[in-house]
Amino acid sequence: MITLSHINMHLPEFSLTDIHLQVHTHDFFALIGPTGSGKSLLLEGIMGIMPFTSGRLLSEGTDITRYPVEKRRLALVYQDFALFPHLTVFKNILYGTAFHNISKNEAEKRFTYLVSALGLEKILRRYPHNLSGGEKQRVALARSLILNPRVLLLDEPLSALDPVFHDEARQLLKKVHKNLNMTIIMVSHNFEEVLYLANRGAIIKDGRIMQQGNIMSLFEKPDSRFTAGFVGMKNIMPYHLKRNSLQITGTPLEIFPPGPPDPAHQHVGIRPENILLHIPGNPVCENHFTGKIKDITSHGVFLRVQIEAQGVIFEAIWPANHIRQFRLEIGKTAAFGFHSESVHTF
Protein backbone atom coordinates (compact mmCIF):
# COMPACT_ATOMS: atom_id res chain seq x y z
CA MET A 1 0.00 0.00 0.00
CA ILE A 2 1.19 3.52 -0.81
CA THR A 3 0.15 6.28 1.56
CA LEU A 4 0.67 9.97 0.97
CA SER A 5 0.14 11.89 4.16
CA HIS A 6 -0.21 15.68 4.12
CA ILE A 7 2.17 16.04 1.20
CA ASN A 8 3.20 19.54 0.13
CA MET A 9 5.52 20.56 -2.67
CA HIS A 10 6.27 24.22 -3.22
CA LEU A 11 7.85 25.27 -6.51
CA PRO A 12 8.32 28.87 -7.70
CA GLU A 13 5.24 28.79 -9.92
CA PHE A 14 3.21 25.85 -8.62
CA SER A 15 2.39 24.03 -5.41
CA LEU A 16 0.96 20.70 -4.40
CA THR A 17 -1.05 21.35 -1.28
CA ASP A 18 -1.94 18.95 1.53
CA ILE A 19 -2.22 15.82 -0.57
CA HIS A 20 -3.59 12.87 1.31
CA LEU A 21 -4.03 9.64 -0.63
CA GLN A 22 -4.14 5.91 -0.07
CA VAL A 23 -3.43 3.46 -2.85
CA HIS A 24 -4.22 -0.11 -1.85
CA THR A 25 -2.21 -3.13 -2.93
CA HIS A 26 -3.39 -4.35 -6.38
CA ASP A 27 -5.26 -1.10 -7.02
CA PHE A 28 -5.28 0.40 -10.49
CA PHE A 29 -5.35 3.93 -9.15
CA ALA A 30 -5.85 6.92 -11.45
CA LEU A 31 -4.69 10.47 -10.76
CA ILE A 32 -7.01 12.46 -12.94
CA GLY A 33 -7.03 16.14 -13.73
CA PRO A 34 -6.76 18.72 -16.47
CA THR A 35 -3.43 19.78 -17.96
CA GLY A 36 -1.36 21.73 -15.43
CA SER A 37 -3.24 20.40 -12.41
CA GLY A 38 -0.09 18.88 -10.88
CA LYS A 39 -0.82 15.18 -11.41
CA SER A 40 2.45 14.39 -13.22
CA LEU A 41 4.35 16.40 -10.62
CA LEU A 42 2.74 14.32 -7.90
CA LEU A 43 3.79 11.16 -9.74
CA GLU A 44 7.38 12.44 -9.98
CA GLY A 45 7.23 13.25 -6.27
CA ILE A 46 6.10 9.70 -5.47
CA MET A 47 8.96 8.41 -7.63
CA GLY A 48 11.41 10.71 -5.84
CA ILE A 49 12.45 12.72 -8.89
CA MET A 50 10.96 15.88 -7.38
CA PRO A 51 11.35 16.16 -3.59
CA PHE A 52 8.31 16.89 -1.44
CA THR A 53 8.63 19.98 0.75
CA SER A 54 6.79 18.30 3.62
CA GLY A 55 4.61 15.31 4.39
CA ARG A 56 5.26 11.60 4.43
CA LEU A 57 5.25 8.92 1.77
CA LEU A 58 4.84 5.36 3.00
CA SER A 59 5.32 2.22 0.96
CA GLU A 60 4.11 -0.97 2.66
CA GLY A 61 4.43 0.89 5.98
CA THR A 62 8.02 2.04 5.39
CA ASP A 63 8.65 5.77 5.26
CA ILE A 64 10.38 6.28 1.90
CA THR A 65 9.95 10.08 1.75
CA ARG A 66 13.72 10.67 1.81
CA TYR A 67 14.78 7.57 -0.11
CA PRO A 68 16.70 8.27 -3.34
CA VAL A 69 14.86 7.41 -6.58
CA GLU A 70 16.74 4.17 -7.16
CA LYS A 71 15.98 2.76 -3.71
CA ARG A 72 12.19 3.14 -3.72
CA ARG A 73 11.36 -0.07 -5.59
CA LEU A 74 8.89 1.84 -7.73
CA ALA A 75 9.02 2.05 -11.50
CA LEU A 76 7.86 4.87 -13.73
CA VAL A 77 6.84 4.60 -17.37
CA TYR A 78 6.98 8.02 -18.97
CA GLN A 79 4.46 9.49 -21.35
CA ASP A 80 7.00 9.29 -24.22
CA PHE A 81 8.39 6.02 -22.78
CA ALA A 82 11.95 7.48 -22.42
CA LEU A 83 13.65 4.49 -24.05
CA PHE A 84 17.42 4.82 -24.23
CA PRO A 85 18.10 5.65 -27.90
CA HIS A 86 21.61 4.18 -27.96
CA LEU A 87 20.53 0.78 -26.66
CA THR A 88 18.68 -1.99 -28.47
CA VAL A 89 15.31 -3.20 -27.20
CA PHE A 90 17.15 -6.17 -25.65
CA LYS A 91 19.52 -3.92 -23.70
CA ASN A 92 16.78 -1.45 -22.80
CA ILE A 93 14.74 -4.23 -21.17
CA LEU A 94 17.70 -5.61 -19.22
CA TYR A 95 19.11 -2.20 -18.26
CA GLY A 96 17.82 -2.08 -14.69
CA THR A 97 18.63 -5.69 -13.77
CA ALA A 98 22.31 -4.77 -13.26
CA PHE A 99 21.37 -2.48 -10.39
CA HIS A 100 19.12 -4.86 -8.50
CA ASN A 101 19.82 -7.99 -6.60
CA ILE A 102 18.46 -10.21 -9.35
CA SER A 103 20.32 -13.43 -10.20
CA LYS A 104 21.19 -14.08 -13.83
CA ASN A 105 18.80 -17.05 -13.92
CA GLU A 106 15.96 -15.03 -12.45
CA ALA A 107 16.61 -12.13 -14.86
CA GLU A 108 16.57 -14.55 -17.80
CA LYS A 109 13.35 -16.13 -16.55
CA ARG A 110 11.59 -12.77 -16.17
CA PHE A 111 12.98 -11.57 -19.50
CA THR A 112 11.71 -14.65 -21.35
CA TYR A 113 8.29 -14.34 -19.73
CA LEU A 114 7.89 -10.63 -20.46
CA VAL A 115 9.20 -10.82 -24.01
CA SER A 116 6.69 -13.56 -24.71
CA ALA A 117 3.79 -11.97 -22.80
CA LEU A 118 4.29 -8.59 -24.45
CA GLY A 119 5.09 -9.99 -27.91
CA LEU A 120 8.56 -8.48 -28.21
CA GLU A 121 10.37 -11.48 -29.75
CA LYS A 122 10.77 -9.94 -33.20
CA ILE A 123 12.02 -6.51 -32.18
CA LEU A 124 14.73 -7.32 -29.64
CA ARG A 125 17.57 -6.21 -31.93
CA ARG A 126 15.91 -2.97 -33.00
CA TYR A 127 16.74 0.49 -31.70
CA PRO A 128 13.94 2.68 -30.27
CA HIS A 129 13.78 4.98 -33.30
CA ASN A 130 12.68 1.99 -35.39
CA LEU A 131 9.71 1.16 -33.15
CA SER A 132 6.06 2.17 -33.42
CA GLY A 133 4.37 3.93 -30.49
CA GLY A 134 2.73 0.69 -29.35
CA GLU A 135 6.01 -1.22 -29.51
CA LYS A 136 7.77 1.51 -27.51
CA GLN A 137 5.11 1.26 -24.84
CA ARG A 138 5.51 -2.51 -24.58
CA VAL A 139 9.30 -2.20 -24.33
CA ALA A 140 8.99 0.48 -21.63
CA LEU A 141 6.60 -1.73 -19.69
CA ALA A 142 8.91 -4.74 -19.98
CA ARG A 143 11.88 -2.60 -18.88
CA SER A 144 10.03 -1.62 -15.71
CA LEU A 145 8.24 -4.91 -15.01
CA ILE A 146 11.42 -7.00 -15.18
CA LEU A 147 12.43 -5.33 -11.91
CA ASN A 148 9.26 -6.56 -10.22
CA PRO A 149 8.50 -3.14 -8.69
CA ARG A 150 6.15 -2.73 -5.73
CA VAL A 151 4.18 -0.15 -7.67
CA LEU A 152 4.16 0.72 -11.36
CA LEU A 153 3.67 4.41 -12.08
CA LEU A 154 2.31 5.35 -15.51
CA ASP A 155 2.46 8.94 -16.73
CA GLU A 156 -0.28 9.46 -19.34
CA PRO A 157 0.45 6.05 -20.88
CA LEU A 158 -1.88 6.43 -23.84
CA SER A 159 -1.53 10.06 -24.80
CA ALA A 160 1.64 9.64 -26.91
CA LEU A 161 0.09 6.84 -28.96
CA ASP A 162 -1.65 7.09 -32.29
CA PRO A 163 -5.40 6.50 -31.89
CA VAL A 164 -5.05 3.19 -33.77
CA PHE A 165 -2.90 1.83 -30.93
CA HIS A 166 -5.16 3.11 -28.12
CA ASP A 167 -7.40 0.11 -27.81
CA GLU A 168 -4.52 -2.37 -28.02
CA ALA A 169 -2.54 -0.38 -25.42
CA ARG A 170 -5.49 -0.12 -23.03
CA GLN A 171 -6.06 -3.86 -23.21
CA LEU A 172 -2.36 -4.44 -22.62
CA LEU A 173 -2.38 -2.32 -19.46
CA LYS A 174 -5.48 -4.12 -18.24
CA LYS A 175 -3.79 -7.46 -18.92
CA VAL A 176 -0.59 -6.42 -17.11
CA HIS A 177 -2.60 -5.30 -14.08
CA LYS A 178 -4.65 -8.48 -13.98
CA ASN A 179 -2.05 -11.12 -14.85
CA LEU A 180 0.81 -9.71 -12.77
CA ASN A 181 -1.42 -8.61 -9.92
CA MET A 182 0.34 -5.23 -10.02
CA THR A 183 -0.38 -2.10 -8.05
CA ILE A 184 -0.55 0.68 -10.63
CA ILE A 185 -0.81 4.43 -10.26
CA MET A 186 -1.69 6.08 -13.54
CA VAL A 187 -1.87 9.75 -14.44
CA SER A 188 -4.48 10.69 -17.01
CA HIS A 189 -6.55 13.63 -18.14
CA ASN A 190 -9.02 11.40 -19.94
CA PHE A 191 -11.83 10.17 -17.74
CA GLU A 192 -13.06 7.76 -20.38
CA GLU A 193 -9.73 5.89 -20.35
CA VAL A 194 -9.73 5.95 -16.55
CA LEU A 195 -13.21 4.40 -16.44
CA TYR A 196 -11.95 1.55 -18.60
CA LEU A 197 -8.76 0.88 -16.62
CA ALA A 198 -8.90 2.03 -13.03
CA ASN A 199 -10.82 0.82 -9.99
CA ARG A 200 -9.98 3.78 -7.74
CA GLY A 201 -8.82 7.31 -8.34
CA ALA A 202 -8.46 10.90 -7.29
CA ILE A 203 -9.33 14.07 -9.13
CA ILE A 204 -6.74 16.81 -8.79
CA LYS A 205 -7.04 20.50 -9.58
CA ASP A 206 -4.50 23.28 -9.03
CA GLY A 207 -2.35 20.97 -6.89
CA ARG A 208 -5.17 19.90 -4.57
CA ILE A 209 -7.16 16.68 -4.39
CA MET A 210 -10.78 17.54 -5.15
CA GLN A 211 -12.28 14.10 -4.64
CA GLN A 212 -11.06 10.53 -4.33
CA GLY A 213 -12.56 7.08 -4.09
CA ASN A 214 -14.00 4.34 -6.21
CA ILE A 215 -14.00 5.24 -9.91
CA MET A 216 -17.71 4.57 -10.32
CA SER A 217 -18.51 6.78 -7.32
CA LEU A 218 -16.41 9.58 -8.85
CA PHE A 219 -18.31 9.07 -12.06
CA GLU A 220 -21.75 8.84 -10.55
CA LYS A 221 -21.50 11.04 -7.48
CA PRO A 222 -19.19 13.98 -8.14
CA ASP A 223 -19.15 16.28 -5.14
CA SER A 224 -18.32 19.59 -6.79
CA ARG A 225 -19.12 21.50 -9.93
CA PHE A 226 -15.51 21.05 -11.16
CA THR A 227 -15.53 17.29 -10.58
CA ALA A 228 -18.93 16.97 -12.17
CA GLY A 229 -17.76 18.79 -15.30
CA PHE A 230 -14.56 16.77 -15.39
CA VAL A 231 -16.31 13.39 -15.29
CA GLY A 232 -18.56 14.36 -18.15
CA MET A 233 -21.61 15.58 -16.24
CA LYS A 234 -23.60 18.14 -18.28
CA ASN A 235 -26.74 20.13 -17.61
CA ILE A 236 -25.17 21.64 -14.50
CA MET A 237 -27.46 24.35 -13.14
CA PRO A 238 -28.02 26.23 -9.87
CA TYR A 239 -31.27 25.44 -8.08
CA HIS A 240 -33.31 26.32 -5.05
CA LEU A 241 -35.32 23.87 -3.01
CA LYS A 242 -39.11 23.94 -3.45
CA ARG A 243 -40.91 21.43 -1.23
CA ASN A 244 -39.93 18.08 -2.75
CA SER A 245 -38.56 19.42 -6.03
CA LEU A 246 -35.61 21.47 -7.25
CA GLN A 247 -36.51 24.64 -9.12
CA ILE A 248 -33.85 25.75 -11.57
CA THR A 249 -32.88 29.28 -10.61
CA GLY A 250 -34.45 31.94 -12.85
CA THR A 251 -36.84 29.51 -14.56
CA PRO A 252 -40.12 27.80 -13.75
CA LEU A 253 -38.63 24.37 -14.46
CA GLU A 254 -38.84 21.87 -11.61
CA ILE A 255 -36.89 18.66 -11.25
CA PHE A 256 -37.68 15.78 -8.92
CA PRO A 257 -34.57 14.32 -7.26
CA PRO A 258 -34.37 10.77 -5.84
CA GLY A 259 -34.56 12.13 -2.27
CA PRO A 260 -34.05 15.29 -0.26
CA PRO A 261 -30.74 16.84 -1.34
CA ASP A 262 -27.93 17.85 1.04
CA PRO A 263 -28.81 21.35 2.31
CA ALA A 264 -25.29 22.50 1.41
CA HIS A 265 -25.75 21.53 -2.24
CA GLN A 266 -26.42 24.32 -4.73
CA HIS A 267 -26.14 22.73 -8.17
CA VAL A 268 -27.91 19.98 -10.02
CA GLY A 269 -26.36 17.96 -12.83
CA ILE A 270 -27.69 15.36 -15.25
CA ARG A 271 -25.54 13.21 -17.52
CA PRO A 272 -26.45 13.80 -21.19
CA GLU A 273 -26.69 10.05 -21.80
CA ASN A 274 -29.32 9.78 -19.01
CA ILE A 275 -31.74 12.08 -20.83
CA LEU A 276 -34.20 9.89 -22.70
CA LEU A 277 -36.34 10.64 -25.71
CA HIS A 278 -39.85 9.34 -25.57
CA ILE A 279 -43.09 9.32 -27.50
CA PRO A 280 -45.22 12.43 -26.74
CA GLY A 281 -47.96 11.69 -24.19
CA ASN A 282 -46.27 8.53 -23.02
CA PRO A 283 -43.66 9.63 -20.46
CA VAL A 284 -41.45 6.92 -19.00
CA CYS A 285 -39.59 9.04 -16.40
CA GLU A 286 -40.48 10.93 -13.23
CA ASN A 287 -39.08 14.10 -14.85
CA HIS A 288 -40.58 14.68 -18.28
CA PHE A 289 -40.75 17.76 -20.48
CA THR A 290 -41.53 18.94 -23.95
CA GLY A 291 -38.99 21.18 -25.62
CA LYS A 292 -37.80 22.65 -28.87
CA ILE A 293 -34.71 21.20 -30.55
CA LYS A 294 -32.12 23.97 -30.78
CA ASP A 295 -29.18 22.07 -32.23
CA ILE A 296 -28.18 18.61 -33.46
CA THR A 297 -24.52 17.66 -33.88
CA SER A 298 -23.58 14.32 -35.35
CA HIS A 299 -20.69 12.41 -33.75
CA GLY A 300 -20.94 9.40 -36.02
CA VAL A 301 -22.72 6.73 -33.99
CA PHE A 302 -24.37 9.21 -31.65
CA LEU A 303 -25.98 12.64 -31.74
CA ARG A 304 -25.48 15.52 -29.36
CA VAL A 305 -28.80 17.32 -29.15
CA GLN A 306 -29.73 20.57 -27.40
CA ILE A 307 -33.36 21.02 -26.39
CA GLU A 308 -34.89 24.05 -24.74
CA ALA A 309 -37.67 23.49 -22.20
CA GLN A 310 -39.10 26.19 -19.92
CA GLY A 311 -36.08 28.43 -20.42
CA VAL A 312 -33.52 25.68 -19.72
CA ILE A 313 -31.31 24.20 -22.42
CA PHE A 314 -30.68 20.48 -21.88
CA GLU A 315 -27.90 18.60 -23.62
CA ALA A 316 -28.60 14.98 -24.49
CA ILE A 317 -26.69 12.18 -26.21
CA TRP A 318 -28.81 9.86 -28.31
CA PRO A 319 -28.08 7.07 -30.79
CA ALA A 320 -27.74 8.31 -34.37
CA ASN A 321 -30.73 6.20 -35.49
CA HIS A 322 -33.04 8.35 -33.29
CA ILE A 323 -32.83 11.03 -35.97
CA ARG A 324 -34.89 8.83 -38.30
CA GLN A 325 -36.93 6.98 -35.67
CA PHE A 326 -38.16 10.16 -33.97
CA ARG A 327 -37.77 12.46 -36.99
CA LEU A 328 -35.57 14.87 -35.11
CA GLU A 329 -35.06 18.25 -36.73
CA ILE A 330 -33.84 21.58 -35.47
CA GLY A 331 -36.91 23.69 -34.51
CA LYS A 332 -39.18 20.67 -34.00
CA THR A 333 -40.70 19.78 -30.63
CA ALA A 334 -39.58 16.65 -28.80
CA ALA A 335 -40.69 14.93 -25.61
CA PHE A 336 -37.90 13.88 -23.28
CA GLY A 337 -37.18 13.18 -19.65
CA PHE A 338 -34.94 11.55 -17.08
CA HIS A 339 -35.32 9.38 -14.03
CA SER A 340 -34.98 10.85 -10.53
CA GLU A 341 -31.93 8.59 -10.00
CA SER A 342 -30.20 10.49 -12.81
CA VAL A 343 -30.45 13.76 -10.89
CA HIS A 344 -27.26 14.56 -8.96
CA THR A 345 -26.78 17.47 -6.64
CA PHE A 346 -23.50 18.94 -5.34
Binding site: E44, M47, I49, P68, V69, E70, L74, A75, L76, Y78, D80, A82, F84, P85, H86, Y95, G96, A98, F99, H100, Y127, H129, R143, S144, L147
Partner: protein, 262 residues
Protein backbone atom coordinates in the same frame (compact mmCIF):
# COMPACT_ATOMS: atom_id res chain seq x y z
CA UNK B 1 16.54 19.16 -51.25
CA UNK B 2 14.75 22.16 -52.70
CA UNK B 3 15.89 23.54 -56.05
CA UNK B 4 17.34 27.04 -56.14
CA UNK B 5 14.69 29.67 -56.72
CA UNK B 6 15.08 33.41 -57.28
CA UNK B 7 15.53 34.09 -53.57
CA UNK B 8 18.17 31.35 -53.35
CA UNK B 9 20.18 32.93 -56.19
CA UNK B 10 19.86 36.39 -54.59
CA UNK B 11 21.12 35.09 -51.25
CA UNK B 12 23.96 33.25 -52.96
CA UNK B 13 24.91 36.49 -54.72
CA UNK B 14 24.96 38.31 -51.36
CA UNK B 15 26.97 35.54 -49.65
CA UNK B 16 29.45 35.05 -52.49
CA UNK B 17 31.87 37.83 -51.43
CA UNK B 18 32.17 36.18 -48.02
CA UNK B 19 32.91 32.79 -49.57
CA UNK B 20 35.54 34.44 -51.78
CA UNK B 21 37.03 36.24 -48.78
CA UNK B 22 37.38 32.90 -47.00
CA UNK B 23 38.64 30.82 -49.89
CA UNK B 24 40.75 33.07 -52.15
CA UNK B 25 43.54 33.90 -49.67
CA UNK B 26 43.76 30.26 -48.61
CA UNK B 27 43.79 29.01 -52.21
CA UNK B 28 46.41 31.57 -53.14
CA UNK B 29 48.59 30.68 -50.14
CA UNK B 30 48.32 26.92 -50.52
CA UNK B 31 49.03 26.98 -54.27
CA UNK B 32 51.84 29.51 -54.13
CA UNK B 33 54.74 27.34 -52.81
CA UNK B 34 56.28 24.93 -55.34
CA UNK B 35 56.31 21.19 -54.66
CA UNK B 36 60.09 21.36 -54.29
CA UNK B 37 59.73 24.07 -51.69
CA UNK B 38 57.15 22.04 -49.79
CA UNK B 39 59.40 18.97 -49.85
CA UNK B 40 62.33 21.01 -48.63
CA UNK B 41 60.26 22.49 -45.80
CA UNK B 42 58.97 19.18 -44.53
CA UNK B 43 62.49 17.79 -44.57
CA UNK B 44 63.47 20.51 -42.07
CA UNK B 45 63.48 18.89 -38.62
CA UNK B 46 62.70 22.20 -36.89
CA UNK B 47 59.54 22.64 -38.98
CA UNK B 48 58.36 19.09 -38.30
CA UNK B 49 59.06 19.55 -34.59
CA UNK B 50 57.15 22.85 -34.48
CA UNK B 51 54.13 21.40 -36.28
CA UNK B 52 54.21 18.27 -34.09
CA UNK B 53 54.54 20.48 -31.00
CA UNK B 54 51.59 22.63 -32.06
CA UNK B 55 49.36 19.63 -32.68
CA UNK B 56 50.60 17.66 -29.67
CA UNK B 57 50.24 20.50 -27.18
CA UNK B 58 46.86 21.44 -28.64
CA UNK B 59 45.67 17.84 -28.19
CA UNK B 60 47.01 17.94 -24.60
CA UNK B 61 45.01 21.12 -23.97
CA UNK B 62 41.94 19.49 -25.54
CA UNK B 63 42.50 16.41 -23.36
CA UNK B 64 42.51 18.59 -20.26
CA UNK B 65 39.40 20.40 -21.52
CA UNK B 66 37.74 16.99 -21.96
CA UNK B 67 38.73 15.78 -18.48
CA UNK B 68 37.84 18.88 -16.52
CA UNK B 69 35.53 20.70 -18.89
CA UNK B 70 33.06 17.81 -19.28
CA UNK B 71 31.91 17.87 -15.62
CA UNK B 72 31.74 21.66 -15.73
CA UNK B 73 29.67 21.61 -18.93
CA UNK B 74 27.33 19.06 -17.31
CA UNK B 75 26.88 21.26 -14.26
CA UNK B 76 26.08 24.25 -16.45
CA UNK B 77 23.59 22.24 -18.53
CA UNK B 78 21.78 20.50 -15.71
CA UNK B 79 22.06 22.35 -12.41
CA UNK B 80 20.82 25.69 -11.22
CA UNK B 81 23.95 27.19 -9.67
CA UNK B 82 24.11 30.58 -7.96
CA UNK B 83 25.73 33.02 -10.42
CA UNK B 84 25.35 30.57 -13.31
CA UNK B 85 24.96 33.31 -15.95
CA UNK B 86 28.06 35.05 -14.61
CA UNK B 87 29.98 31.78 -14.81
CA UNK B 88 28.86 31.25 -18.41
CA UNK B 89 29.98 34.80 -19.23
CA UNK B 90 33.40 34.14 -17.66
CA UNK B 91 33.80 30.96 -19.73
CA UNK B 92 33.07 32.95 -22.90
CA UNK B 93 35.59 35.70 -21.99
CA UNK B 94 38.61 34.15 -23.79
CA UNK B 95 36.72 34.48 -27.09
CA UNK B 96 36.73 38.27 -26.86
CA UNK B 97 39.91 39.09 -24.94
CA UNK B 98 42.85 40.07 -27.22
CA UNK B 99 45.11 37.06 -27.09
CA UNK B 100 48.35 38.80 -26.08
CA UNK B 101 46.38 39.97 -23.04
CA UNK B 102 45.71 36.30 -22.20
CA UNK B 103 49.45 35.62 -22.30
CA UNK B 104 50.22 38.65 -20.15
CA UNK B 105 47.48 37.67 -17.64
CA UNK B 106 48.82 34.13 -17.28
CA UNK B 107 52.38 35.38 -16.93
CA UNK B 108 51.38 37.87 -14.24
CA UNK B 109 49.77 35.03 -12.29
CA UNK B 110 52.69 32.69 -12.80
CA UNK B 111 55.34 35.26 -11.84
CA UNK B 112 57.21 35.10 -8.56
CA UNK B 113 55.34 38.16 -7.29
CA UNK B 114 52.12 36.15 -7.08
CA UNK B 115 51.43 33.41 -4.48
CA UNK B 116 50.28 31.02 -7.21
CA UNK B 117 53.49 31.69 -9.16
CA UNK B 118 55.57 31.07 -6.03
CA UNK B 119 53.61 27.88 -5.29
CA UNK B 120 54.13 26.61 -8.86
CA UNK B 121 57.81 27.52 -8.72
CA UNK B 122 58.23 25.69 -5.40
CA UNK B 123 56.49 22.67 -6.94
CA UNK B 124 58.99 22.81 -9.83
CA UNK B 125 56.43 23.93 -12.39
CA UNK B 126 57.62 26.62 -14.80
CA UNK B 127 55.19 28.52 -17.03
CA UNK B 128 57.40 31.02 -18.84
CA UNK B 129 59.10 29.48 -21.85
CA UNK B 130 57.83 25.93 -21.26
CA UNK B 131 55.41 23.49 -22.83
CA UNK B 132 53.37 23.68 -19.60
CA UNK B 133 52.95 27.41 -20.18
CA UNK B 134 51.92 26.82 -23.80
CA UNK B 135 49.34 24.19 -22.72
CA UNK B 136 47.98 26.69 -20.16
CA UNK B 137 47.33 29.39 -22.73
CA UNK B 138 46.00 26.90 -25.31
CA UNK B 139 43.57 25.56 -22.72
CA UNK B 140 42.57 29.11 -21.83
CA UNK B 141 41.72 30.06 -25.42
CA UNK B 142 40.21 26.68 -26.40
CA UNK B 143 38.07 26.00 -23.33
CA UNK B 144 35.02 28.10 -24.31
CA UNK B 145 34.74 26.15 -27.57
CA UNK B 146 34.83 22.82 -25.72
CA UNK B 147 32.48 23.81 -22.90
CA UNK B 148 29.88 25.42 -25.15
CA UNK B 149 29.83 22.52 -27.61
CA UNK B 150 29.57 19.85 -24.91
CA UNK B 151 27.01 21.86 -22.92
CA UNK B 152 24.76 21.99 -25.99
CA UNK B 153 25.24 18.20 -26.21
CA UNK B 154 24.06 17.74 -22.63
CA UNK B 155 21.16 20.11 -23.31
CA UNK B 156 20.09 17.87 -26.19
CA UNK B 157 19.78 14.79 -23.93
CA UNK B 158 16.31 14.87 -22.32
CA UNK B 159 16.50 14.92 -18.52
CA UNK B 160 13.73 12.32 -18.65
CA UNK B 161 16.23 9.74 -19.95
CA UNK B 162 18.43 10.31 -16.91
CA UNK B 163 15.39 10.17 -14.64
CA UNK B 164 14.25 6.97 -16.33
CA UNK B 165 17.66 5.44 -15.65
CA UNK B 166 17.40 6.49 -11.98
CA UNK B 167 13.92 4.97 -11.71
CA UNK B 168 15.40 1.70 -13.00
CA UNK B 169 17.86 1.62 -10.13
CA UNK B 170 20.98 3.30 -11.50
CA UNK B 171 22.71 5.86 -9.30
CA UNK B 172 23.50 9.37 -10.51
CA UNK B 173 27.10 8.62 -11.56
CA UNK B 174 26.16 5.33 -13.23
CA UNK B 175 23.41 7.15 -15.10
CA UNK B 176 25.93 9.72 -16.29
CA UNK B 177 28.36 7.06 -17.47
CA UNK B 178 25.80 4.73 -19.09
CA UNK B 179 23.24 7.14 -20.50
CA UNK B 180 24.41 10.75 -20.68
CA UNK B 181 28.02 10.11 -21.68
CA UNK B 182 27.28 7.77 -24.63
CA UNK B 183 24.61 10.15 -25.89
CA UNK B 184 26.92 13.19 -25.83
CA UNK B 185 30.08 11.46 -27.04
CA UNK B 186 29.78 13.04 -30.48
CA UNK B 187 29.53 16.50 -28.96
CA UNK B 188 32.64 15.74 -26.93
CA UNK B 189 34.55 14.76 -30.07
CA UNK B 190 33.26 17.89 -31.80
CA UNK B 191 34.24 19.99 -28.76
CA UNK B 192 37.69 18.41 -28.81
CA UNK B 193 38.02 19.24 -32.52
CA UNK B 194 36.92 22.84 -31.90
CA UNK B 195 39.24 23.23 -28.91
CA UNK B 196 42.19 21.65 -30.73
CA UNK B 197 41.56 23.75 -33.84
CA UNK B 198 41.45 26.93 -31.79
CA UNK B 199 44.60 25.92 -29.93
CA UNK B 200 46.60 25.00 -33.06
CA UNK B 201 45.92 28.43 -34.54
CA UNK B 202 46.87 30.34 -31.38
CA UNK B 203 49.74 32.78 -31.78
CA UNK B 204 49.22 35.95 -29.70
CA UNK B 205 49.06 34.36 -26.27
CA UNK B 206 51.71 31.71 -26.99
CA UNK B 207 54.28 34.21 -28.22
CA UNK B 208 54.06 36.11 -24.90
CA UNK B 209 54.29 33.03 -22.68
CA UNK B 210 56.74 30.93 -24.69
CA UNK B 211 58.56 32.08 -27.84
CA UNK B 212 60.54 28.88 -27.36
CA UNK B 213 59.89 25.95 -27.54
CA UNK B 214 58.55 27.14 -30.87
CA UNK B 215 55.06 26.23 -32.06
CA UNK B 216 54.14 26.29 -35.74
CA UNK B 217 52.35 29.69 -35.71
CA UNK B 218 55.32 31.29 -33.91
CA UNK B 219 57.72 29.71 -36.44
CA UNK B 220 55.57 30.99 -39.35
CA UNK B 221 55.76 34.47 -37.80
CA UNK B 222 59.50 34.19 -37.22
CA UNK B 223 60.22 33.00 -40.78
CA UNK B 224 57.98 35.76 -42.12
CA UNK B 225 59.75 38.53 -40.21
CA UNK B 226 63.24 37.12 -40.83
CA UNK B 227 63.01 35.78 -44.43
CA UNK B 228 59.72 36.98 -45.87
CA UNK B 229 56.54 35.48 -47.22
CA UNK B 230 58.19 32.87 -49.43
CA UNK B 231 59.74 31.04 -46.49
CA UNK B 232 56.79 31.23 -44.14
CA UNK B 233 54.10 30.04 -46.59
CA UNK B 234 55.22 26.39 -46.94
CA UNK B 235 55.08 25.87 -43.16
CA UNK B 236 51.58 27.33 -43.13
CA UNK B 237 50.55 25.00 -45.97
CA UNK B 238 51.84 21.94 -44.12
CA UNK B 239 50.19 23.05 -40.86
CA UNK B 240 46.86 23.53 -42.67
CA UNK B 241 47.18 20.21 -44.51
CA UNK B 242 48.09 18.13 -41.45
CA UNK B 243 45.42 19.80 -39.27
CA UNK B 244 42.85 19.25 -42.01
CA UNK B 245 43.63 15.51 -42.22
CA UNK B 246 43.51 15.26 -38.41
CA UNK B 247 40.11 16.94 -38.19
CA UNK B 248 38.65 14.87 -40.99
CA UNK B 249 39.75 11.73 -39.14
CA UNK B 250 38.24 12.98 -35.88
CA UNK B 251 34.96 13.83 -37.60
CA UNK B 252 34.87 10.38 -39.22
CA UNK B 253 35.42 8.90 -35.77
CA UNK B 254 32.55 10.91 -34.31
CA UNK B 255 30.24 9.84 -37.17
CA UNK B 256 31.11 6.19 -36.67
CA UNK B 257 29.93 6.27 -33.04
CA UNK B 258 26.24 5.45 -32.55
CA UNK B 259 25.42 5.36 -36.27
CA UNK B 260 21.85 4.31 -35.33
CA UNK B 261 21.04 7.70 -33.82
CA UNK B 262 19.03 10.05 -35.96
Amino acid sequence: MKQMDLMGWLFLFLGLPLLLLLTLPLIKMTTEPSVAMLKETIADKDVVAAIARSIGLSLCAAGLAFTMGTPLAYLLARKELPGKRLLEGIIDLPIMIPHPVVGIAILSLAGKNHPIGRFLSDAGIQIMGTKTGIICVLLFVGLPFYINTVKSGFDSVPVRLENASRTLGAGALTTFMRITFPLTWRHMILGTIMCTARAISEFGAVVIVAYHPMTAPVMIYERFTAFGLKYSQPIAVWLIFISFVLFVLLRMLSKSIHPHRR
